[in-house]
Symmetry: C2
Subunit: 466 residues, 2 copies
């Protein structure tokens, strides 16, 4: 039997698409950087089907590209290389198998949309520690495969830190059932962390046991005006000392970034009378009703007294809160409307961010004086979206031509300050050259050995990461 027929037989008529129009949404990365081609996209509806599909592919040395919500940004689920490949999309594995309020966990299949899991947690008065812009369409399997970050990392950690257990289909089609919910377990090597963040190259995550947390009863959101982006770092320290892990979000927005939003997005406004060099969007949670606001007020008053900040507002209604977050969430959209951008998803040791920003900006300005720095992001966990937007007087093509040297400079500086060229977007195809350049040979050798050990024939997500 032809391998395509064999695969179709496993999943049944509702379990695949193979005509060009139906394939297109699976093959096009949404930012438009990659498109690719496969003869079939398989849509298995159970872990067993995934295992059977991989078994068939393993026997015939067909590459298997796993995919979730297809919201990635680095070419992590597109075709690469010449070998025959199929794409396995996990959206039909979308059952929540168990939610336990007392046990503070849920067991969810890989195809569950992140927002649906957040809602299921809230229904039992618990909260899932993962939140990101794409949460309405990204799927938990992809979040785990890429170790997604997002908005609440400073409080709850990245996707990795939510994982109590995993179910994984291995490169030879066997199923590893590691769906434990234990908080402590020293029975042998911990394999969970290896699959998380390996971008589908070591195994296909089909389900996960995820930690839940007590749900805060109260939330206070504020916007803080600063004298410079660098001031965001001492302010973070000051707020952490007083609010500790109740500080659940801490986002930096520079004034140039705010300007872009105000100019391009209707019905946005700054809550301040004056303009400042930078802003921090902060969110404080509390388990005492009313406690979040008063604690945030006191912490910001102390910061004002200490000269750390210039001004601050705290939202007094849900509407005001949404308006503040809208300033942050509209940035990507506003940026698109301003023309070409060169984007960098970087992370740094938090205390070195001010020095990095000064150093990197002056070097980039020496290369292209009028480039616009659109810098923002989850600075509370040391990550920045460090984006360069085309100068107003320059055409996109000339600007794009400078991408290699500009990005090289940014990443070189990131590396010099002990940072990473990929904070939360992963490696995929896009950042493989950076992996080779900035990660040392011993570490890459270890990664290769592990890939060889778990996927000796290289059938899982060929050409990604390594």
């Amino acid at each position: 039997m032809d391998y395509l027929d064999e695969l179709k037989k496993i999943v049944g008529v509702e379990g695949y698409v193979d005509d060009a129009a139906a394939l297109e949404p699976y093959l096009r990365e949404w930012r438009g950087r990659y498109t690719s081609d496969v003869p079939i996209v398989l849509l298995p509806s159970s872990t067993r089907q995934v295992a059977q599909l991989v078994s068939v592919c393993a026997a015939r040395s067909i590459g298997v590209i796993p995919q979730g919500g297809n919201t990635g940004l680095v070419g992590g689920s597109v075709v690469h290389g010449g070998r025959a490949q199929v794409l396995v999309n996990l959206r039909r594995l979308d059952r929540i198998r168990e939610v336990s309020a007392d046990g503070e966990f849920m067991i969810a299949e890989a195809g569950c949309v992140l927002a649906a899991l957040q809602e299921a947690a809230e229904e039992v008065d618990r909260v899932l520690g993962l939140s990101l812009s794409a949460e309405g369409s990204c799927r938990i399997g992809g979040n785990l495969a890429t170790d997604a970050g997002g908005l609440n990392v400073l409080r709850y950690g990245t996707a990795r830190h939510q994982v109590l257990g995993l179910e994984v289909v291995l490169a030879d089609g066997r199923i590893w059932n590691g769906l434990r919910t234990l908080r402590k377990n020293t029975a042998g090597y911990d394999l969970r962390g290896l699959f998380v963040g390996s971008e589908g190259t070591l195994g296909i995550i089909t389900a996960a046991a995820l930690r839940l947390y007590p749900r805060p009863s109260d939330l206070a959101t504020g916007l803080v005006a600063l004298d410079s982006p660098a001031e965001a770092i001492p302010l973070l320290g000051s707020l952490r000392s007083r609010l500790a892990d109740d500080l659940v979000a801490y986002e930096l927005v520079t004034d140039a970034t705010l300007e872009l939003v105000l100019r391009n997005i209707p019905d946005t406004r700054t809550p301040f009378d004056d303009r400042y060099k930078a802003y921090a969007l902060v969110e404080n949670a509390s388990h005492n009703p009313g406690g979040a606001r008063s604690a945030l007020e006191q912490a910001l008053e102390a910061a004002l007294g200490g000269g750390l900040i210039r001004d601050a507002v705290i939202a007094t209604s849900g509407e005001q809160r949404r308006a503040l977050w809208r300033l942050r969430h509209s940035i990507s959209d506003a940026q698109t409307r301003e023309g070409a951008s060169i984007k960098h998803d970087i992370s740094l040791p938090i205390e070195r961010i001010p020095a990095f920003m000064d150093d990197c900006e002056s070097r980039i300005r020496a290369m292209l004086p009028d480039v616009r720095f659109i810098v923002f992001g989850h600075v509370g966990d040391g990550s920045l979206h460090y984006n360069l937007t085309v100068p107003e007087n320059m055409d996109s093509e000339s600007f794009r031509a400078k991408e290699p040297e500009l990005s090289r400079m940014v990443f070189d500086r990131v590396h010099a300050y002990g940072g990473s060229f990929s904070a939360e977007h992963g490696v995929g195809l896009l950042r493989r050259p950076e992996l080779r350049r900035y990660v040392d040979g011993v570490e890459i050798d270890l990664m290769r050995r592990i890939k060889q050990a778990l996927d000796p024939h290289g059938i899982l997500n060929p050409g990604k990461v390594l």
Copy 2:
């Protein structure tokens, strides 16, 4: 040159011991279960020396047993098997390389005593999230190699969760420098988690970058009287809902366990007029001065009102706090004085603990009616020290003879309830039979592949774990 001479030359005259009397403390596990023999204990003073030692051993296929404070309980750093082996103790790698309050991290060498790191964190008004009974003598390298747990896991997670980065000497003597301090990094596979908990069988951890947390300004400690050990679980849920992660410790002590302490340890007393079936020792932390006590009081009043608890006291002085903790910390000592015990370090899904305890106790009683159940531990994170003490009318030898069948019953029940036969003590030599019995073949195969990939000649800690 003889390999012993070659090794001695690397570390110099102060870097080894090789006479019988000096070797003894390194070769005897403190609980007395294991003693072993090597021709030399090496005491390198730098990562480079560790790497050189391993290179020499790799070239000659000599086994290398890494050791920290030698406080383990499962034969993790004793000699096993017939091949030539040396022991490498890391106590001289005891420098704290960096402490950053703003960056909330410290970089410490493997030989640092845990308590010294806790103090260094407190000096900069931060706290390290790891605390355990052996903290005055255990060393951080061993804590990480075994993924140590301890008292604060429900708040901060196990040793694994404290790790931002690692420096590791590999099986061929190369050094992996993964000493990053980043909160987000998706640049390739995450190797950190593999070395943590692998008990020195995949690499020798020589240094680690560890997370620090804001230091709570206030602590409240209480003892709560319960109608049964099972009641500890709904109480935990109730306290978590109100105190969330401010609840930093939650220890169960059954009345039989308390009785043992009161009878054997001078100057111990219960703060209650009556005796109850079980007690929970709870500790609440706050970043608001005075906040810890009032929040704990409110949470306990609500629990009292809801019929979840019978009585409660909160310490009003440091002395009272120490007296409460002394009841908990004296248990092992008290148990030793009562004669032979068969100990089990188990973990369970938290919500299933009551059912497990009922089921397991009735089955064990059917086997040995008068056995004394000394059950206590970090129930807040689902782990229990589930110990069986010799019946008063039975001799130790007859009791010991029953260990295989009694332990088998306990571990079978643990497995049936989705738990682990090793919560925090590891596998070492002692629990290898349980690893083979309770961990499924796919998982063991994955572990073997990884061992083969990272230590193909099997020189690191021979015979442990697998």
